[in-house]
Symmetry: C2
């Protein structure tokens, strides 16, 4: 039988299949992008499709209302094929990829934060120098009296120009040597790396192209961000970002690891990040910067442990199975050519070192960028992504841990949740008397509400709590026009009625959503709490809090403290440091000293495995209230009750 996917804004895809095939699985096999953050277990309700022709067998879901069901809406993960059918697939995934709001240096504010971090690294004594060089050489033209082979002619000239004793000419340069010399009348530009007394050639080209370029990449579970920079001056040449193409194989690392463990999965996941995500961006950036991809002589990657494994194409299954052993923490030896990255094939790819299965190179690079390793003051570094990672310490010690915040911050576990794209509520205040909301919605003027993103959820829950609309357990305790209940008595707060929303569907937040979110924020807080306790410290010891990650930029810190997500310290101690993984990767790709420092930071960082740490579960349970079971921890909390 045949299933036709009518993709919004795309060409239809027809797939042959058998009775009983799962619709979401089928879509994945056919590379049809359906947003499925929970990877098909029915919990997130995001993988909706609409039946246009034919029928499918489906399990009812709380995510589909009777009206929507009547219109043909189904959760694709809960559908089995029973005959030929045609389904409409909303353009969620690609919309997400093209309009993702992220810490990608697209605003002057982000650039300023980025440059401030670099400046601080310099002040910490990190020199931004490396051994990559480009040199224009005019070789003596051969004649019947001077019949030296090309490679010797080149070697002599390089030895003289750079004062080295040895010159390495690898294959990719050798195969272009004869023709490049002759095309340019024996005046050429040679690019490569000094390694002690040896110059390792990486590129030969005409004398007009002397650019040597580095590429720093942050591979997030959800988003990929990168910059091209001049290897000599550090000048930003181009920047770009997009969603991580692996998103259709699951929103979190666990689902991706499961997916890559299936037959052919490793290649599928690797292709999704390399061919579908990174290479197109790099190619675009090269075009924008007017450089040849072969001028990219070094790359660096800040990514979590799982992303690092999937990127390299190494089996990640052992990472999630006891005893949780990654293939590598730090690893030198990767070349761009190994992965067929759009770059010089000989370019080394620096991987910021992981330090545990769930504290990866994004955190070590981020810690490097934060500068906390060089301070006497005690700092807390929090990277809020799909996972939450936390580092605490100063120049004397660094402790780290990870907690599974789950997809709540990105809208995954929230019925009207969404990622921070057009139509998302990113901020909200509620009038205590009327209970009417005032919304800030991402997008152009007049953009109507589609759903709620992470920073919006924090605001709404904080405001509901402050206004006494919900209690410490997240249950509704006031009634009113905006507060409604379903037939089972479950309460919800309506942010946009069906006639006010972009989609014609009500946008609201219900008790299950709030409960999901409280568990997410509880995971973050209890992780911080446990980390502090592990070194016999309390929140009073915290001198500064550095918050990184895309969601961090939109967070109202007052509200985040109010609901007990962050410890109750003075607001001026909070600093948003943008995409610290990218900032760290940028420093590492340009500076050999930054590179060495990151390895040192990683080697000195202690990893606390929370799941087996005594007291963590108690701390987590205690944190699953607004703001906390122990109100004395949050003296500044404003609550209606």
């Amino acid at each position: 039988m045949k299933v036709t996917f009518q993709i919004e804004g795309g060409n239809p895809v027809v797939v042959e299949c058998s009775a009983g095939d799962n619709l979401l699985e089928l879509a994945r096999r056919a590379n049809v992008a359906i947003d499925a953050p929970c990877s098909g277990n029915g919990s997130c309700g995001k993988c909706r499709v609409k039946l246009l022709e034919g029928d499918v067998e489906s399990v009812p879901s709380r995510h589909i209302s009777p009206e929507e069901y009547a219109e043909g809406w189904r959760l694709s993960c809960s559908c089995r094929v029973t005959g030929d059918c045609t389904v409409f697939v909303p353009d969620i995934a690609s919309a997400y990829q093209s309009r993702m709001k992220t810490a990608d240096l697209s605003s002057p504010k982000e650039i300023a934060i980025f440059e401030e971090c670099q400046q601080k690294l310099r002040q910490s004594g990190i020199e931004f120098t490396n051994n990559f060089r480009s040199v224009v050489l005019s070789l003596p033209e051969p004649s019947l009296d001077d019949t030296m082979p090309d490679i010797e002619r080149l070697t002599w000239a390089v030895e003289e120009a750079l004062g080295v004793g040895h010159v390495q000419v690898p294959f990719p340069v050798m195969v272009r040597l004869a023709s490049t010399l002759r095309e340019h009348n024996f005046t050429v530009c040679l690019k490569g790396e000094l390694q002690g007394d040896t110059f390792r050639c990486m590129e030969i080209c005409g004398p007009e192209d002397t650019a040597i370029v580095a590429c720093a990449i942050d591979i997030g579970t959800t988003t990929v961000t990168m910059v091209l920079t001049d290897l000599t001056t550090g000048k930003l040449l181009a920047k770009g970002s997009s969603g991580n193409g692996q998103i259709r194989y699951g929103a979190d690392v666990i689902n991706r690891i499961i997916e890559q463990g299936k037959p052919g999965g490793k290649k599928k996941l690797q292709d999704a990040i390399l061919k579908e995500t990174l290479n197109p961006i790099i190619a675009n950036l090269c075009k924008a910067a007017g450089i040849s991809a072969r001028s990219i002589l070094r790359l660096s990657v800040g990514a979590n442990t799982t992303m690092n494994h999937l990127f390299v194409g190494v089996d990640a299954s052992p990472v999630r199975m006891e005893p949780y052993i990654p293939s590598f923490f730090g690893w030198e030896g990767l070349l761009a050519g190994d992965l067929k990255l759009v770059a010089n094939p000989l370019a080394p790819v620096i991987i910021a070192p992981n330090i545990g299965s769930y504290v990866g190179g994004d955190i070590t690079a981020g810690t490097l960028a934060s500068g906390i390793w060089d301070r006497d003051e005690m700092s807390l570094f929090i990277d809020l992504g799909t996972n939450g990672e936390i580092v605490f310490g100063n120049r004397d010690f660094l402790m780290s841990c990870a907690c599974s915040a789950g997809p709540a911050f990105e809208g995954g576990d929230i019925s009207c949740g969404m990622r921070a794209t057009d139509g998302a509520v990113e901020a909200c205040t509620i009038d205590k008397d009327t209970m009417e909301p005032t919304l800030s919605i991402i997008g152009d003027e007049g953009q109507k509400c589609v759903g709620i993103c992470g920073s919006g959820i924090i605001d709404i829950i904080s405001e509901l709590f402050r206004c006494g609309i919900i209690n410490a357990k997240g249950l509704f305790i006031r009634e009113g026009d905006r507060v409604r209940r379903d037939s089972h008595g479950m309460g919800r707060y309506v942010i946009a009625d069906s006639h006010e929303s972009e989609t014609g569907r009500e946008v609201s937040i219900n008790e299950v959503d709030i409960d999901n979110f409280i568990r997410a924020k509880g995971a973050i807080f209890s992780a911080i709490d446990t980390l502090l306790k592990s070194v016999d410290m309390t929140p009073e010891c915290i001198d500064d809090v550095y918050v990184a990650g895309g969601i961090g930029s939109g967070i109202n810190m007052r509200n985040a403290v109010n609901i007990g997500m962050f410890p109750d310290v003075e607001l001026e101690k909070f600093h948003y440091i943008g995409n610290s993984s990218l900032t760290g990767a940028y420093a590492m790709v340009l500076s050999d000293q930054a590179n060495a420092k990151c390895a040192e930071v990683a080697a000195n960082m202690t990893y606390l495995e929370l799941s087996t740490y005594p007291g963590y579960m108690d701390s987590f349970v205690a944190a699953c209230f607004l703001p906390h079971t122990d109100r004395s921890l949050f003296p500044s909390c404003e609550a209606g009750q």
Copy 2:
């Protein structure tokens, strides 16, 4: 319009084309193998095809008799397409590839020669040792108390087992690390190379596979020969040979260089040697030896300068155009993975160094194997292939030069010439009285005559001269049943009448053939003569003559001297040393000292460019007689006149 090639013993190939397309070109474009040693200039007459349907426009040729023409035989190089047609393509090329007789260690005699050369190298102080190692490691299995990542676990074990300070884990090993460790319960075999204090991993596999293997390859213009050998013991594991797949792009290096200079030509020629020739043989040898291709950790290549360039994929055009500049003489840095050779992708490929445009690595490797660099006695080393290369000297100096013997020795320029395959006359005596020949024909008992190969031509011409049937200029001066003349009066000697031959065509040698051959042997002799004169020496100074190359094994040295091809020295001074290029490559792949010695030999060898050397042309002209214009140079020559 369409041309259908009906390939003998193969599937038909249909090619779209335009009116006026050259049939041989068309066949090459479609990868249809047609034997064309002269590369389509109409001189060799080997590219015959037979029209089955339709017609073509063709130029008459002396190589096609009126009867053959009537039957539909044409020279494909002289045909232009005028409409749809079907042509029969004789299976010459593949027959050639599968039945080539060559110095490939297939006989006990060849093996004995091969082993004697190795023995002499050892006596010269060359140790057969290298730094490749295979080691079985039992790693402690990870646990919750020992969560070291795989790469660190491996590194520690290697450092301990081999006493090194550093371990390099390149990409191809890294991607297989996790799964290999777990498949084999953390007891694995690691293979790689010691580089000072560093072990460079190249392969990880199960503990049962500890083989580490080297592959030595001789790439001749016409024939490819290789051996697999144990890297530790030097034991021969497998050996094989075939024709060089580039043969259909021309028999000699000049035609190949022209062909590779055409659009897409470089890749075509490289594919012909790599994909069509080397990789299938290596794969077969691995199967025969019962080893995995990833166990091949080092390769070496002995090849002439042009073959080296085409093999690497470097533009060879400058090699044949003034001022004749190759891309490289020696070059380190090539890896098997660069060329996608069937071998460990990290395996270094040693290229025996070239020393001039026409004296290549086959000669430096061959000189190494000959041992002449370690002797006080004056030795002449002659490698007879498609080109003839000559080295003269001893431990104090080495002079070398190359001469274009042309395809005569392989049957290219001789009307009934053929390579040394089934049906070729390889030896011949002639009764002085009756002028009847006694033939030795390659092949099984009862094999009838197809043509004449190089060693046969030498014998026939020597015998014709000894019997007074031809004079010193190669013209027929006796009449008889076996001596016939065509309508222009051109004489020929009939070796096999049409009813005696395999093909039903007369096998004979005519005055044009003899003239072609005299020029070939004259080129060899005058090269030797010039080389000797360049160091003020005479043939009396020669203590030994080492003859290498496939044709060398069949040569009757007495006859070769008799016609003035080799200098007239005592017959016991001649030594046949087999495929010295392969022997040298074998030594280099196993022994780091042999490798260094070959570089030293190459660096100390002086290259004499004959084409510009004063006196060479006079010497050549003087040598174009039987045996020579100066008979005093050949006191032992037996001649009828």
